[in-house]
Subunit: 577 residues, 2 copies
């Protein structure tokens, strides 16, 4: 009888175990889990702290007893593997329940230990009130301190877990401070795409400390003081560390398995490690990025589950293989949703890849039907053939849906011309006859076909003194906000007043409106009237201010924008819609 | 100056006009619209009647004045084209505002007249209280009679418009009767997929008269009496006819343009009719079905808009072409959502095409996070290569999202093996680590790889007397409902009790549970224990009862199912979740 030992009983490990049993009734399957729980809903942990999931038992998807009864799995919790002997094909296990050790033999070993929270090398970080949130006991500890009357918390890290924890603690009425090294929340997004999320978090009472980090922690009468690099000191009842994760590879390193350059375990397409008797799956393995082809680490539940299935297939002699990971992810932040799939602009830049981009602000569904608000979409695509490289969306309704359509398009290798032709489900409560994804395709295809030229917010400061900024909105909109020095000719008057612009028709003309539609029409008119150096602002004033609201703190000069208070009001109006 | 005349100013016509102007500042564009309004939100009409869109002006997306100012379009409302002279390249126009007629010359003519409601040849159907709902005046008339205190309405037709109108009138507290010729609501869905929608409509107070039709209408003191083929007579304040639409082709026929076998105007991939100076777009043209390759008529806003764009491109000498229409559509019915993309099973059967199918009932998002309920998914795919042929979904949350992912997959020519690998956006409020679309792919791929064999609800009555039905649910579930004569061995006891089944191991064994997961595990166990003729019920008891609840009325014998009242309760519990 073949003996399969799986180290780790959550996403990848349990997927492998369950599928393995479905494929093979005979194989012996032992799952060794260091913690007290297996197959729990680790993505749900923040929501139990916050109260959205009141019943803790809901998170315990299945128990070892249930797994034995339905799948004949030998699941051993609080059993930690402390050594692997590749020659003998055995693992040494520490049974924390009994305090004993034993040797377990395997024919096939599966590593599915996941990733562990990064602990920044900060003095005092081992203070007992510094928590992480990866497991049920982690959650229980944080919830206990909140239930005990904690009033103030510090969250370190502004990515998925960090913002989910910050939201949860705000739901519990705590005073929440979030510290993020980057100058934005959700660093996986490009900076201008994170702006709305940032202000939305502030609107909901999270105090953000961006572009800084904790430099030390210290005890203050049982509470904890965190000093930032800025010199500021925050005192709180506890700290949640959510500064990212790294693969748990100590065992793998001990036995000399090959690691990739990212530090994750190197596996082939069959999920096999450098030892033919050892597979690995989940957060601990290095994968290939779908878009860039580069090795990368992606700690996401979906890929982990699929990799676990493939391990089981392979153990049973099947030919299924893992391809690539595109990093599709989404987060709920109070009333907003933000997410991404494929490559970001910062990644493409870092790798020196060619790309084009468009921005748009379509409503989640027909704007005349209640309950919608504009979302902010950024689409990245290849200049040569229009292949979709990445998409980012933040907004209120329908964000996750469009992320999934873009994710599917990327997986299918679709181009922006394909996006134009997608036939998506339309009725007023769900979308628009021209869906936001179609609209993104139209804009991108127009660019590649040469029907439009864009200028981008980040090019503003590089514009020459010669540049004419043309604002084609109405005079009231112009009065509220405009780019300094911009000429105002409303679109509806442009055809009759085009001769006013003749004296400057040789100068670069940079057109804009609020979201980009009117300025696109103006672009078309001016081009056909013989203006050659014309471009329309991608995403309009909304994307422009998103960019400069975020970078202003770092010193971009001369950009006026409506005050933070006014923006909060605008966000509130969106919420009320 | 090139003169383009467009007949029809709503979806296709207005898309053509707007894009044409963006591409060409010089061309003369005249839009002739028979009605009083152009470019209004015709999909929103039921929601103004129902009150979801209180402000009528919201539906008037743009006015002729706005179109002139922004796009320099010459839009003439209440101008009806009454004749076309192909030789002279002119149209004769009746100006209903002035009561005069004139001739307008064209270089290019665009037909975008759409489709008109079918009026069944029923005596009395021309009663003044029989309305249709295609235009703003139609809507105004219905809303006026509702506002005037109407108490009872009859809706003829149970497809998209019919159910939207029925919902709207229930929102206004009317007693609503809906008559549908088919034995189901939403005839575009396969019958078992319409069951939940049917009971949901009844739960919300719509009285359904299915499998029948109006045979006559008569005046009763200013109200209207509709007699059904069953002999029953319903008296109501008014009737809304929503029995489908047909292309408006009278003008096209007068001038001898080629029609397709569906009765729609025949166009090539450039949307050109048999007259090289005449294009056509929108509901009036025959298109090719993406999946079946057959000519078809599809009256949907998305394809109409895209076709309009292509007409404009063609007029400007560009090479964009229209490909196919897959008929992606969605409808909101009270708290439920239902929709489809690609081919239905009834279509594939009618055409004699080979297909396979799976059913599943995943939750819209992680079941431990509040606000979700199981949806019912049916996936149809090609036996030889797994290409996705069609998908239907009904449920509560996340239905439109999965429809769009399936729609994108069909457009990309993806297989069920590709669905397994899709990397979709997961966080507990939005989905599951194994998304419903992935799950559909897993089931379908398991079938094609031979890892599972399904039996289907519609095969129940063809089972031989030899067949052993094995119910692998718990005894309580078995007591509540089971297939007559089924043996009950809970999955958790199956391994230890498998020898009890040895005496019948040569007989056909048909396993089932509630949604199909436990019986799939049981299938895997029994197959590996040497049982050869084993199959698991696709979709489990939920799909089974969906099928037989619907067909029972037509006489399927011996199928027990929980009473309607209990089902209403079950639906209510779903809603409360």
């Amino acid at each position: 009888m073949k003996r399969v030992v799986i180290i780790g009983g959550v996403a990848a490990g349990m997927s492998a175990a369950a599928r393995l049993r479905r494929l093979d009734e005979e194989v012996s399957i032992v799952v060794l889990e260091r913690d007290r729980y297996v197959s729990y809903a680790n993505c749900g942990l923040p929501y139990h702290i916050g109260g959205a999931i009141p019943d803790r038992e809901q998170l315990l998807v299945v128990t070892p007893e249930h797994l034995r009864a339905t799948l004949n799995l030998d699941v051993r919790t609080e059993h930690e593997v402390i050594a692997i002997d590749r020659e003998a094909q055995t693992v040494e296990v520490h049974d924390h329940q009994r305090g004993s050790r034993y040797i377990e033999a395997y024919d096939i070993l599966v590593l599915a230990q996941g990733a562990a929270p990064l602990r920044p090398p900060v003095p005092g970080i081992d203070h007992p009130r510094v928590f992480t949130l990866r497991s049920m006991p982690d959650m229980d500890a944080i919830k206990a301190i909140v239930d005990g009357g904690a009033e103030r918390a510090i969250v370190v890290g502004g990515s998925y877990i960090g913002v989910e924890v910050a939201e949860a603690l705000r739901e519990r009425q705590l005073d929440v401070h979030l510290i993020e090294l980057q100058d934005q929340v959700m660093p996986l997004l490009d900076i201008e795409m994170a702006t709305d999320l940032r202000y939305h978090m502030e609107l909901h009472g999270v105090t953000l400390h961006l572009g800084t980090a904790a430099s030390s922690c210290a005890d203050v009468d049982g509470r904890i003081a965190v000093t930032l690099r800025t010199g500021e000191t925050l005192v709180a009842d506890f700290v949640v560390l959510a500064a990212g994760v790294r693969p748990i590879t100590s065992l793998a390193q001990q036995i000399g398995l090959a690691l990739g350059k990212t530090g994750g375990i190197k596996v082939d397409a069959t999920m096999r490690t450098s030892d033919p008797h050892i597979y690995a799956a989940g957060d601990m393995v290095e994968v290939i990025d779908t878009v860039t082809g580069e090795p990368t680490l992606v700690a996401l539940a979906g890929p982990a589950n699929r990799q676990g299935r493939i391990v089981a297939d392979q153990i049973c002699g099947r030919d299924s293989t893992y391809t690539t990971t595109q990093g599709t992810a989404v987060v709920k932040i109070f009333a907003m949703t933000g997410g991404a799939t494929g490559a970001s602009e910062k990644t493409l830049r870092r790798l020196g890849r060619a790309y084009r981009k468009v921005y748009l602000h379509p409503a989640g569904h027909a704007s005349y039907y209640p309950g919608t608000a504009p979302m902010h979409i950024k689409l990245l695509f290849a200049p040569e053939d229009g292949r979709v490289l990445g998409a980012q969306i933040v907004g209120y309704d329908g964000v996750d849906k469009r992320l999934d359509v873009f994710a599917t398009a990327i997986r299918a290798g679709m181009t922006v011309f394909d996006l134009e032709r997608l036939e998506l489900a339309y009725a007023p409560p769900y979308g628009s006859a021209k869906d936001p994804v179609n609209m993104a395709g139209f804009l991108a295809a127009n660019l590649l076909r040469g029907d439009v030229a864009f200028w981008y917010p980040d090019e503003y400061e590089q514009q020459s003194a010669e540049t004419v900024f043309l604002d084609v909105r109405g005079p009231q909109e112009y009065a509220q906000w405009h780019i300094p020095g911009a000429v105002n000719i409303p679109l509806t008057e442009l055809r009759s007043r085009v001769e006013e612009l003749r004296p400057v028709d040789a100068k670069p003309m940079r057109i804009y409106c609020m979201v980009g539609f009117r300025s696109y029409l103006a672009y078309r008119i001016l081009r056909q009237h013989g203006f050659d150096d014309v471009a329309t602002l991608a995403g309009g004033g909304r994307t422009f201010t998103s960019f400069y609201r975020t970078t202003l703190a770092t010193g971009a000069p001369g950009i006026p924008f409506v005050s933070h208070a006014e923006e909060d009001l605008a966000a509130q109006i969106l919420l009320d819609q």
